[in-house]
C-alpha cells in the first residue's frame, strides 16, 4: 500500500494553517489533536478532496475510495438503514447489494433492522449505521471527523471499540479534540498547533486500551494538562 497523506503548506486566506509539513499515514489509527480553529478538519477535508476555502501548496496522495464519517451521521431520513448503508455505492452507480448491507448492519449490532428508518434509532445507533456505511466501500483509507463527539461517554467508548475492530488493517485518520480518545486508539498521534504537526508519543499497543486502564487515564490527564498550558 502506497503511503497516503498530504504535505506542503496550507493557507486559509492570509493565514497559514500548516507550514511546510507532512502528514503520512500508515495502516492503523492516526489521530490528529489540536485546539479549535487550528485547522484539523480543514486538513481532513483537503485530504478527502472536499470543498474547503483553504489552499494546499504541496502534494496529496489518496486512494480512489475514501471512507468518511463526520460529526453528524448524515443518514438520509427517507431511506431504510439498508439503503443508507449502500448509499455511497448507489451514488457511484453500483448495483444494490442488500445482503452485504445486512451483514454489515449485523456486524455493528443492528442485525435485522435493515428496513428500519433512521428516525427510529438512538444517536449511538445512528453512528453505527454511519460506520457500516463507511465500511461498505472497503476503502483503504477512512477519514473520521470527530464522529463520536456527540455521544455520551459510555456509548462513545463502545463505539470506539467497535470502530477499531471494524477498521482493522486500514489506514484511519481521526480528528478529535479529546486527548483520551486519541491515546486510547492512536498508533500515531499528532498535535496540530502553531502551523506545525507535532508528533506525540502514543501508548504502547494493544489498542484500543480498556476504559479502566490506569496508564491511559494518567497519560490522558498529562496530555490534557499539556494542551491546557498551551491554550
Amino acid at each position: 500500500m502506497s503511503p497516503h497523506g498530504l504535505g506542503g503548506t496550507v493557507r486559509l486566506g492570509g493565514r497559514v494553517l500548516l507550514r511546510d509539513a507532512a502528514l503520512r499515514l500508515a495502516p492503523g489509527w492516526t489521530c490528529l489533536l489540536g485546539p479549535s480553529g487550528a485547522g484539523k478538519s480543514t486538513l481532513l477535508r483537503l485530504l478527502a478532496g472536499l470543498e474547503v476555502s483553504a489552499r494546499l501548496e504541496g502534494w496529496r496522495e489518496v486512494p480512489e475510495r475514501i471512507g468518511w464519517m463526520a460529526q453528524r451521521d448524515l443518514l438520509q431520513e427517507r431511506l431504510s438503514l439498508s439503503a443508507n448503508v449502500q448509499l455511497m455505492a448507489r451514488l457511484r452507480g453500483q448495483a444494490p447489494d442488500p445482503a452485504r448491507a445486512a451483514e454489515l448492519l449485523a456486524s455493528v449490532g443492528l442485525a435485522g433492522r435493515d428496513e428500519a428508518r433512521p428516525a427510529e434509532l438512538s444517536g449511538g445507533e445512528r453512528q453505527r449505521v454511519a460506520l457500516a456505511r463507511a465500511l461498505f466501500d472497503e476503502a483503504p483509507l477512512v477519514l473520521l471527523d470527530e464522529p463520536f463527539s456527540a455521544l455520551d461517554p459510555a456509548r462513545r467508548a463502545a463505539m470506539q471499540t467497535l470502530a477499531h475492530t471494524a477498521l482493522r488493517g486500514r489506514q484511519v485518520l481521526m480528528v478529535t479534540h479529546d486527548p483520551a480518545e486519541a491515546l486510547r486508539l492512536g498508533d500515531r498521534i499528532y498535535l496540530l498547533r502553531d502551523q506545525r504537526l507535532e508528533p506525540l508519543p502514543p501508548l504502547a499497543p494493544p489498542h484500543p486500551r480498556p476504559m479502566g486502564d490506569t496508564e491511559l487515564a494518567l497519560a490522558a490527564a498529562a496530555l490534557l494538562a499539556r494542551l491546557s498550558e498551551a491554550a
Binding site: 478527502a48 478532496g49 472536499l50 470543498e51 475514501i66 468518511w68 463526520a70 453528524r72 448524515l74 438520509q76 431520513e77 427517507r78 431511506l79 448509499l87 455511497m88 455505492a89 448507489r90 451514488l91 457511484r92 452507480g93
Partner: protein, 239 residues
Amino acid sequence: MIRRALPLLLPLLLWQALTLSGQVPPYILPAPLAVAEALVADRALLWTHLLVTLSEVLMGLGIGLLLGGGVAMTTSLSPRFERLSRPALVASQALPVFVLAPVLTLWMGYGPAPKVAMTVLLVFFPVASGLRDGLASTPAEVLDLARLSEASPWRALLWLRLPHALPHLGAGLRIAVTYAPTGAVIGEWVGASKGLGYLMLMSNARMRIELLFAALILIVAMTLVLNLTMDRLLRRLRM
C-alpha cells in the same frame, strides 16, 4: 358539535336575516334557503359543470407539477440553465397571469385547453420555486457524500437533494392547490360553454342569482376538498 358548527351557522343565520329584512333585493343577494334549493333542484346541471371544472383543475395541477418539477430539477442539474432561467422565472412570478386569460382563449379556443393552461401558469411557480429552493438548500455536509463518491449530478439529485427537497415541494403544492381552481374559473369566465365559471356568468345573465351562488359555493367546496385531499396525501408521503 354545535360549537364547531357555530362559526358556519352564525353567518348563515345573519345572511338569512338580512334577506328577510327586505333591505337587500333577492337579485343582489338571494336567501341561503333559495341557494340551497337551487343546489338540490339543479344538482344534475351543477354536477356536470363541476366535473368539467374539476377535470381542468386536475389536469392543470398534473401538468403544472411536471413542468415546475422539471424546471426545478433542470435548474439544479445545470448551473447554466439556472442562470438563463432565473430572470424568466422571476418575471413570470411578477406577471399578473390573469391578464393572459383572453389571449390564451384567443390562441387555444373555447375548449378546456386555455383553462388548463391558465391553471398550469398558477401551479407552475409555487411548485418550481418551492422545489428549487429545497434542492438548493441541501446541507453542504450531505453533499460531501456526493463529492466523496464522485456521484454524477443526476445521482446526487436523486439520492441526496430530492429527498431533502420533498417537504419544500410539499409546501409549494399546498399553495398550488389553493390557486389552481381560480385559474380554471377565470379561464371559464373569459370564454367557455361548460364549467362552473361559465355557469356563474350564465346564471347572472339570466337573473338566476341563486344558481350563481350555488355554483360559487361548489367552487369553494371543491377547493376545500382539494386542499384537504392534497394535505392528507402529502402527510402520508411525509412532505
